[in-house]
């Protein structure tokens, strides 16, 4: 029998879990949708294509039409009225809630992805350096992240979002989404950093590191070519677990009016719905919360399964 590698074994065991695979496909669907809208958005803005699903800011009907209700209205740039309906109704501005919800998926996925990358780029090297060198490097890094960690997360996130919005970094001015990516990324690397540091401390005395050292490898090589690949699964698990919280962070920021400004976002939809609920406009709130609920649930189940499959202790069937 062909011995199986670590990764292929993990994938094989993951495939056996029906629910986890279903969740994987749901997540993939969100990601695919985000990618489709991302590309579509470029085509619409730069090449003047007409892709209705992506054109969220088109006024498709009167304000506050119920889901699937028939209405009559005069479209933009036209004079005679026509009939229409919207699957999830319309919002205050007469825009389609359905399109906004889909577009919200792109916003959330983009923010979560970019913020994850930023937090990995900060957390992993810092954790690795602290764990490998110990001594004053460790003290400094641990002191730094503990200090950062003592500040309540939401307050820290808000403070970063406020400071970064419209800030100048060298010749660039941070605008719109970039400041949101940075705010979330810069505030949420502590957990990952701590994990990586612990893992490196555990492994740096193991045989393969000793062997590498005996062969005269540099610290840099040992750290980044021997140790880090061996903790990669932790980064991956952490990535999938944190992804949900990043989506939530984006929703919170948008809800507070500190997030995405130009584009629809689930948080902004919930913020708008806060006052709308009093006049029985429930669909905007419902659409956004259901969208968040499904992706959160799917990601949680999937990353749980992923952790089980990647855990070496549970590896042998």
């Amino acid at each position: 029998m062909q011995p199986r590698g670590y990764w292929s074994d993990a994938i094989r065991r993951l495939r056996k879990r029906k629910l986890a695979m279903l969740c994987f496909w749901i997540v993939a669907m969100y990601a695919g949708l985000a990618a489709f809208i991302w590309i579509g958005d470029i085509l619409v803005t730069h090449l003047d294509w007409k892709i209705p699903i992506v054109q969220w800011n088109e006024h498709v009907g009167p304000s506050y039409q119920k889901p699937a209700a028939q209405y009559e209205f005069v479209p933009e740039m036209k004079t005679e009225s026509q009939k229409g309906w919207c699957l999830l109704g319309t919002d205050f501005m007469g825009q389609s809630t359905f399109r906004k919800t889909l577009y919200g998926a792109k916003t959330a996925m983009m923010v979560a992805f970019c913020a994850s990358i930023i937090s990995i780029l900060i957390g992993v090297p810092l954790g690795a350096l602290a764990g490998y060198y110990r001594g004053w490097v460790d003290d400094a890094i641990v002191w730094f992240y503990t200090t950062l960690g003592t500040i309540p997360y939401i307050l820290l996130l808000m403070a970063f979002a406020v400071v970064l919005r419209g800030a100048h970094i060298g010749p660039w001015e941070l605008r719109g989404s970039v400041s949101v990516y940075l705010a979330i990324g810069l505030t949420s690397w502590v957990g990952l950093c701590r994990l990586i540091r612990g893992e490196i401390i555990k492994r740096k005395e193991s045989e393969y590191v000793l062997a590498a050292r005996a062969m005269g490898c540099s610290d840099f090589r040992i750290l980044f070519f021997h140790l880090l690949p061996n903790v990669f699964h932790i980064i991956l698990i952490n990535f999938s677990l944190r992804f949900v919280s990043f989506i939530h962070a984006e929703v919170i920021l948008s809800f507070l009016g500190l997030g995405e400004t130009d584009k629809p976002s689930w948080g902004a939809m919930i913020d708008a719905a806060r006052t709308e609920l009093a006049r029985d406009v429930w669909w905007e709130m419902a659409a956004a919360t259901v969208a968040i609920f499904i992706i959160s649930l799917a990601l949680n189940i999937f990353s749980d399964a992923l952790r089980d499959c990647l855990d070496p202790k549970l590896r042998m069937d």
Partner: protein
Amino acid sequence: MRVSWLYHHDKKNTCGHPVWIALMVILAGAAGVLSVSGCKDNTDKAQDNNGIVLQQRLRAFVQTLDPMNVRDTTGTCVASDVFDTLYDYHYLKRPYEIVPQLAAAMPTISEDGTCYTIPIRKDVYFHDDACFPGGKGRLLKAEDVVYAFKRIADIKTRSVSWWILDRRIVGLDAFREYTKTCKKGEVDYDRSVEGLQALDDTTLQIKLNEPWPQLVFWLTYIATAPVAREAVEYYGEEIGFHPVGTGAFRVDRWLAGAYVEASRHPRYYDRYPTEGGPGDKEAGLLEDAGKPLPFVDKVIWRIVVEDQPRWRLFLKGYLDMAGVPKDNFGQVFTSGVNLSEEFTSRQIRMMEFDEPGTFWVAFNMQDPVLKDNKPLRQAISFCIDRKKYIKIFFDGRANEAFGFIPPVMPGYDPNIIAISNSRYDMAAANRFVEEAKTIAGGKIPRLRVAIGGTDSTQRQMCQYMQRCIESIGLDVEIELYDWPTFLEKMRKGDLQLLITGWSADYPDVESFLQLFYSKNIPYPNEFHYSNPTYDAIFEKIAVMPDCPERTALYQEAQRIINEDLPCAFTLHRASFIMCHDWISNVKPNSYKNEMSGWGMTKYYRIDPAKREAYKKKYR
């Protein structure tokens, strides 16, 4: 006064920072819960013990009640009932008329317009307070007004109102210079200021550096209210929390973030006006003519930050009057301006009044993309569908603006409509955008639309503008800033297109004209607009008493602005007050609004029996 888009947004509120807003949302939630659960007991108890209570509401915390430092609408709201000013608007007469309040008569003005002699009433007492000997408030003297003005000038008090008096009164600027050399608390208020003299206890004389016809309007402004020197010296730094004034109400209890309670000033001097405008008699507004004020024994201002809880409290009868939140327009009105059945059956009445304000999309005239490209500004102005904008955001209850003079103000010029550059015309917009591209040499860079506020309504307003401008093939992005950041960026000239507005502080178009005066760059001239012809007209108008030539001049000024197009006018807003059946004598004032009427509480009459019946019925 710079106005923000939301009805409840505080105009000069420094607490607009998002972090604070978020904290306030949390606190307000708690406060809201407390006030909802606590209000029943409060009011009922108060009712039994202390007579008739008027229930008002505030939209934000009261930061201070020191008149010279009050700068937000909530502070003004309470302070105006606690402090009286020398002059005030006639409660009933329209068009607006300035009438004496603490003053005994209108000022006698010297021929050259620089010397004002103001007689002061002899029957005005300060509130009873521990700062006075024996705890009894003393008579008001002309010296108290002088003292209040000197306090504003004193740099050590860090007054926010100095800009009103800056370079206006003879010798006051020298006094300000003198205070710079003093140590804190050692400023000599007995030092004489030439232009500010109490000739005797009841005669005040103000000498101006040059004619300033608007002075009398500013003497209705809360910052110029007389203050008792005893109180300031007794309370020191705490004076902002211990208001001692001459107004109809005296603050008894003030719990930051929850409520302010005030009771009737027993020795209050004023009486209900005996004459009114046409229709006032029929409306029952003259039934109390000549009776001593105030009519209620107690006022409670509840602080309810969020729109919906405030609206619920109103419907349940725990507030006597309220504004209409944006999301409830549909619920309140049927077609036109008729109240829906739900409200007529509850005997709730609605009062509509025009605000003396104008909103616009301002162009930064120093921006390299906009400044030399008039067709671009025209294109942007022509592509904004104002009717739809008003329909979506104001439920159709606002007027399109063609120039900056609102229809409610004297001197409104209907001829501007025909030549206005501020109207919706897609064909023209498309034509101008082509011209603009030629001037810009091809592509027009991405434009930026900014608004001061991060609320969902403000975001939606920006998105609406974005959509309009994108419809003529331009690229636009949105910038949402909290109010202080917005003002700061505006001053620096960092912003490109700004969604803002202005509300006149007094019934004189001069309040708008100063916005375009080049010496007022960067504030309040947010446009960074400068035109020598315009400046010359403005300088003439500023010192001219009201007359037909003056009206002609400011209409000319409006035409210049229309021609140069430093902003695309969008609308004049209308405001609404909803009143319960049991409150009478309510007449809105365009210049003292923010729904509840600054300083007008003393005129309101309450029928508590009706209120109790309503509360029982709709519990």
